[in-house]
């Protein structure tokens, strides 16, 4: 190698090193995942999540990019592995992730002006069963094993009756979403389903005929609504920025529009203790697993 070549080699290395530094510095401007699952969205969501994410991102200055995962466990993993990510999770996974990963609570949606919702036990209108326990050896459709309304809630309810949900039904049909559970019911894949009230309400708006074909046999809750959460490395300032945007969404037209499309009334700031009921259910269910 000649001296000329060595000079150019050193220059290249220097530039690379400085570029990395700059790149490292520029990382904070790379959008972070806004993680959502199929549990929370439905087939008519269209690009709502994208627009919502853009709204948040733009408004908060915290760049976000939609990242879809098909289950809460994946959402938990993404937020774990991307601690600066933000996501919209369910109460039960938040409780677990909050404990395990330091997941942070950003805001809680208001559904019918309340930060709570119910878990509905639905079945087809021509069925004669009255309770969830009556569907022994049947098929229970659920959205996600980590879903509060989709699985934890019916599990807890049966546990209270001394019934192990995993033994009571011949099949626990994992559908990946509440809408999927509704679909499974409508198509005779399942005999009974545990569905998020929020999703069911939104579904009925676009599928009013489903209201005749399915009926509610049990309403459980109210439970804390599915929260907006952030990874453990999202700083407080950013969390507050995002939270503030969410809280003030109904103060601007775009936010209102988004809220209307979400069928939500706004967001509210809550403390992690708000999810204590879910935590309690989880504890009880988990303690019974060892029995």
């Amino acid at each position: 190698m000649t001296n000329k070549h060595f000079f150019y080699y050193l220059l290249t290395i220097s530039l690379l090193i400085s570029g990395s530094s700059g790149l490292a510095h520029a990382t904070e401007t790379v959008p972070q995942p806004f993680v959502v699952t199929g549990v929370i969205i439905n087939s008519h969501s269209g690009n709502l999540i994208e627009r919502f994410t853009n709204y948040l991102s733009t408004k908060s200055g915290y760049p976000l990019q939609v990242a879809y995962v098909n289950k809460y466990s994946e959402l938990s993993r993404v937020l774990r592995e991307n601690p600066k990510a933000v996501g919209w999770t369910c109460g039960a996974p938040y409780v677990q992730d909050n404990e395990a990963d330091g997941q942070q609570l950003v805001a809680v949606p208001l559904f019918r002006n309340k930060p709570v919702y119910h878990s509905l036990i639905l079945t087809r209108s021509d069925r004669s069963e009255k309770t969830l326990a009556d569907f022994k050896d049947g098929v229970l459709a659920y959205s996600d094993p980590h879903s509060n309304s989709g699985f934890l809630s019916p599990q807890y309810a049966l546990l209270k009756q001394g019934i192990d949900i995993k033994k009571h039904f011949r099949l626990l049909l994992h559908t990946g979403s509440h809408e999927g559970s509704i679909t499974a019911l409508l198509n005779n894949l399942a005999d009974v389903a545990a569905v998020d009230e929020y999703i069911w309400t939104a579904y009925l708006k676009t599928h009013p005929e489903a209201g005749k074909r399915l009926h509610e046999i049990k309403r459980m809750g109210p439970y804390p609504f599915t929260p907006i959460v952030a990874g453990n490395e999202v700083n407080e300032k950013d969390i507050n920025k995002i939270s503030s945007i969410l809280l003030k969404m109904n103060e601007d037209s775009e936010g209102k529009k988004l809220l209307a499309e979400f069928h939500l009334d706004g967001f509210v700031k809550k403390q992690p203790a708000f999810y204590q009921p879910v935590k309690d259910m989880l504890r009880e269910v988990n303690s019974n697993k060892g029995n």
Binding site: V139, A141, R170, L171, L173, H174, T175, G176, G180, A184, N187, N188, L189, A190
Partner: protein, 899 residues
């Protein structure tokens, strides 16, 4: 006309049809080929698409099965179905019936219709054969099946994840679209084929006509074949084989014409009418004789016409003669000939004539193409036959009217004709006898030697001369009855003196002989009477002279005792001779000098004491005198002598005693009786009966008993003039005497003395007016006297009874065994064969207790009763009997209640 005929009658049609058929076959072949090809393509496309679908399903379902993601699997299935529907729309080759994803345990993991196939339950559809699936090419097992409403293709596929089997994918395709496409294909092809077929028909027709035109020309010209005028210029212009054919046809026409001319000449030369028929019964040719007989001028009126309708349409009486009944037609249909000679044919002028016709079918290569009918006018022949038949009928009537039996034979001696008399005597019917040799029917023997007599007809035919039978010839009829006959046989010779046969004429002379016998006996008795009378008269005169001179001598020898004794002895002997000659004269005297009306009953009563003294004490004399006895004109003195003589004879016949019955009765003897008794005459009689149970007389004695000097008594016991004296007495007073005697049984004498003519009211008229009892029962008549047997049969048959006959007891028993319907046994007493009438009756009643029995005998009932046979003594009809007697006795017997 059926299709085959339509087809086979036209070359153009044949060529066209063949061409069309060939084209059609080609089209069908092509259609089938392309259809097959298209079907295969459809099937392959179906399979290919199915494979793609399977592949798409399998690409994700392995993972779903492995990770137990049933919802995702179901989503995959439904999305595949939606994708397929969106992709193919209405143009697809199949619809998806079912997609089922099963786990390795055969449970439904995911299903296109989860409502019918719930998740996590045992799949209840058709599972694949594991081995077949394992070895299926490409891991895909295709099976075809038929659901309730469509054809389906069911595909099984193993589902693997990372090389490990995790389940089975079942895809069932509804092939209705594919089938519908195939049907549409068929319809399309059919339309193309139909169109092309029409084209083919058009082409074939044009081509066929082009090919067949020359043939049509020839066909049209063939009608002229035989005319000598056939010309085919259209074909002669050609340079191919049709040219040669045209020339050959023209030459053939010329030759045929010449041949036809010869045939016509030949046909016209015959005397028989001949005409030809085609298969439809239409006339094809006639000869001159046919035209002449039918009255047609030329053949134009007949040719082509239906001959049955023209000349054979009706019977001789004008009634329609349907063609279906016509013998020509029937034979024609069966392809047979026929020959009829009893029908008529009709002329052109509407008249008919009797015809004899023959019909023969005409064959062409074993196929009947027509018939030839030949006929003759047989009117004259029929008339001649009729005359001949009338002559024969007259002859037959003549023969049948002859009172003698007539049998005619042919030159071979076989019977050709018999008249009713011959039938009656021989016992053979005409039909039975016709054709048989004469000796078989006309069996004759000699009456005395009982040996066969030579066939007289054989001699006649041999000699050509008349032959008479010898006398005493007996004809044995078929049933064994014997008749005394006299006959003669003569040859039947024609005008050329050729023997045509023989005629035998014979008659029953049995009665004639009997009458002649009786006459001869009577004449013999008359001759004997005359002879003996003549001798007796002369002898009596000489005796008178001797007695006179002995009387003189006695006076001269009054004092000489010894010579006076000698003269006295001589005088007594002479007086005795005079007594004998007086009896002899009495026999020979034909007329009575003294004839008065006498009541025989009164006379008998007067003589009763004398009769008693005349017999021995051991003889019991009994009298049975009719209360209303008629008077008769006789000499009382001679009557007394005659009766006394008979009483003495009876006494002599009963040396050890016995019974003598003297009975009187009135009786009318009818013509039938006279026929059997020539010495009797019909009329009213006083019957005087003397019946004893003495030693009786045999037949030979009976025949000679009335001859002078005939006696069975020892020399010193009788002169043999007594019975002759009785005979002479009876004859002088126009009576007659009958003897009925059986050896060791007894004798019954019946003396018949004419009723005095001064007595009014003959019973003959009464009897003629009397209505006889009749009946329809069955009676068996048994009598060894054949004449009486037939007389009784004749009487009973006329009275309405059914009868059987027997000549002896054995025959009678056989007949009784065979014929259970016999109601009454009418039997004589004494018969040959060892069984008499009583024994016969006894046996008959044992076999049939209900059988009625009537006995007939020459003895009286009292005599029979005295003989110890009281059982049948009350059912006795004494011989001889009249028809009225038989009628009454039979009726009484049949009406009598069972004992």
């Amino acid at each position: 006309m059926n299709l085959f005929n339509w087809f086979s009658r036209s070359l153009s049609r044949q060529v066209s049809s063949v061409l069309v058929f060939i084209i059609f076959l080609i089209l069908i072949g092509c259609a089938l080929y392309f259809y097959n090809l298209q079907s295969n393509l459809l099937q392959q496309s179906t399979k290919q698409m199915a494979k793609q679908l399977i592949s798409s399903l399998n690409s994700n379902n392995g993972k779903h099965l492995h990770f137990n993601d049933q919802y995702a699997a179901w989503m995959t299935i439904t999305s595949q179905i939606e994708n397929y529907q969106q992709q193919i729309g209405d143009e697809g080759l199949f619809n998806i019936d079912e997609i089922a994803l099963l786990d390795t345990n055969g449970f439904t993991f995911a299903h296109s219709t989860p409502a019918e196939n719930p998740l996590q339950k045992k799949y209840h559809g058709i599972l694949p054969d594991e081995k077949a699936l394992a070895t299926a090419p490409g891991g895909l097992l295709f099976t075809s099946l038929q659901t309730d409403d469509h054809k389906a293709l069911r595909i099984y596929s193993k589902v693997e994840f990372q090389g490990h089997p995790v389940g089975i994918l079942i895809l069932q395709l509804d092939l209705s679209p594919s089938v519908a496409q195939q049907h549409a294909l068929i319809i399309d092809f059919s339309q193309y084929i139909f169109f092309i077929l029409l084209m083919a028909i058009a082409i074939g027709t044009i081509f066929g006509r082009w090919v067949s035109k020359p043939v049509s020309i020839i066909e049209a010209s063939l009608a002229q074949i035989g005319s000598g005028k056939l010309r085919l210029p259209e074909l002669q212009q050609r340079h191919d084989e049709y040219n040669k054919l045209a020339r050959a046809l023209e030459q053939a026409d010329k030759n045929l014409n010449q041949s036809q001319t010869q045939v016509h000449l030949l046909l016209d030369s015959t005397a028989e009418a001949i005409y030809g028929l085609d298969i439809e019964g239409n006339c094809t040719f006639v000869n001159q004789a046919c035209l002449d007989m039918l009255g047609y001028i030329d053949d134009s009126s007949l040719l082509g016409q239906n001959m049955h309708e023209l000349i054979h349409h009706s019977h001789s009486d004008g009634s329609p003669y349907p063609v279906e009944e016509c013998h020509i037609y029937r034979a024609f249909k069966k392809q047979l000939g026929t020959h009829i000679d009893n029908e008529v044919l009709w002329r052109e002028d509407g008249s008919c004539f009797s015809a004899e016709y023959w019909s023969h079918p005409i064959f062409d290569e074993h196929k009947c193409v027509g018939a030839v009918v030949t006929f003759l006018d047989i009117t004259e022949r029929l008339e001649a036959q009729q005359k001949l038949q009338e002559r024969e009928r007259g002859l037959a009537m003549t023969l049948d009217s002859i009172g003698d039996a007539v049998i005619v034979t042919d030159v071979e001696g076989n019977i050709t004709r018999m008249n009713p008399i011959a039938v009656g005597l021989t016992g053979w019917t005409v039909d039975e006898a016709r054709g048989r040799p004469l000796p078989m029917v006309f069996q004759i023997i000699n009456e005395q030697t009982r040996k066969s007599v030579a066939d007289p007809v054989e001699k006649v035919l041999r000699t050509g001369k008349v032959v008479d039978l010898v006398s005493h010839t007996v004809l044995i009829s078929k049933d064994g009855t014997e008749y005394l006959i006299s006959d003669s046989a003569a040859p039947i010779i024609d005008e050329n003196e050729k023997i045509l046969g023989a005629i035998l004429v014979f008659r029953d002379v049995t009665q004639q002989y009997q009458t002649e016998d009786a006459l001869r006996r009577s004449q013999k008795m008359d001759a004997i009477g005359q002879l003996s009378g003549g001798i007796a008269h002369d002898f009596n005169n000489q005796l008178g002279i001797i007695v006179g001179y002995l009387d003189f001598l006695s006076k001269y020898l009054a004092n000489d005792a010894r010579p006076k004794k000698w003269v006295e002895i001589s005088t007594n002997a002479t007086l005795r001779c005079m007594d004998l000659t007086r009896q002899l004269l009495s026999f020979s005297r034909t007329k009575s000098n003294k004839k008065v009306v006498v009541d025989v009953n009164a006379k008998l009563r007067e003589l009763e004491t004398m009769f008693t003294r005349s017999v021995t004490p051991a003889v019991d004399v009994e009298y049975s005198l009719a209360d209303d006895i008629w008077l008769t004109e006789i000499d009382p003195g001679e009557f007394q002598d005659a009766i006394l003589n008979l009483v003495i004879n009876s006494r002599d016949a009963m040396p050890n005693g016995g019974k003598l019955l003297i009975e009187t009765s009135n009786i009318y003897l009818d013509e039938d009786y006279v026929a059997l008794n020539p010495d009797a005459q019909a009329g009213d009689y006083v019957q005087l009966l003397l019946s004893d149970n003495g030693s009786g007389m045999d037949k030979k004695t009976q025949e000679h008993v009335f001859e002078p000097f005939y006696t069975t008594k020892p020399k010193d016991k009788g002169t043999g003039l007594g019975m002759s004296m009785v005979y002479g007495f009876i004859k002088r007073f126009d009576g007659f005497i009958k003897i009925y005697s059986e050896v060791n049984v007894g004798t019954t004498l019946r003396l018949y003395l004419p009723r005095a003519t001064t007595e009014a009211n003959s019973i003959a008229q009464q009897i003629k007016n009397e209505k006889l009892p009749v009946g329809n029962e069955t009676v068996l008549i048994v009598d060894d006297e054949v004449d009486l047997l037939y007389l009784a049969d004749k009487y009973l048959t006329e009275l309405g009874y059914q009868t059987y006959q027997a000549e002896n007891a054995s025959q009678a028993l056989e007949i009784l065994a065979q014929h259970k319907e016999i109601d009454c046994l009418f039997t004589d007493v004494v018969m040959p064969g060892g069984i008499n009438g009583y024994e016969l009756a006894q046996r008959a009643i044992e076999n049939k207790p209900a059988l009625k029995v009537l006995i007939t005998s020459g003895f009286t009932s009292k005599t029979i009763s005295q003989n110890g046979r009281p059982l049948f003594s009350t059912r006795l009809l004494s011989k001889p009997y009249r028809k009225a007697d038989l009628a009454q006795h039979i009726r009484l017997t049949l009406d009598q209640e069972d004992e």
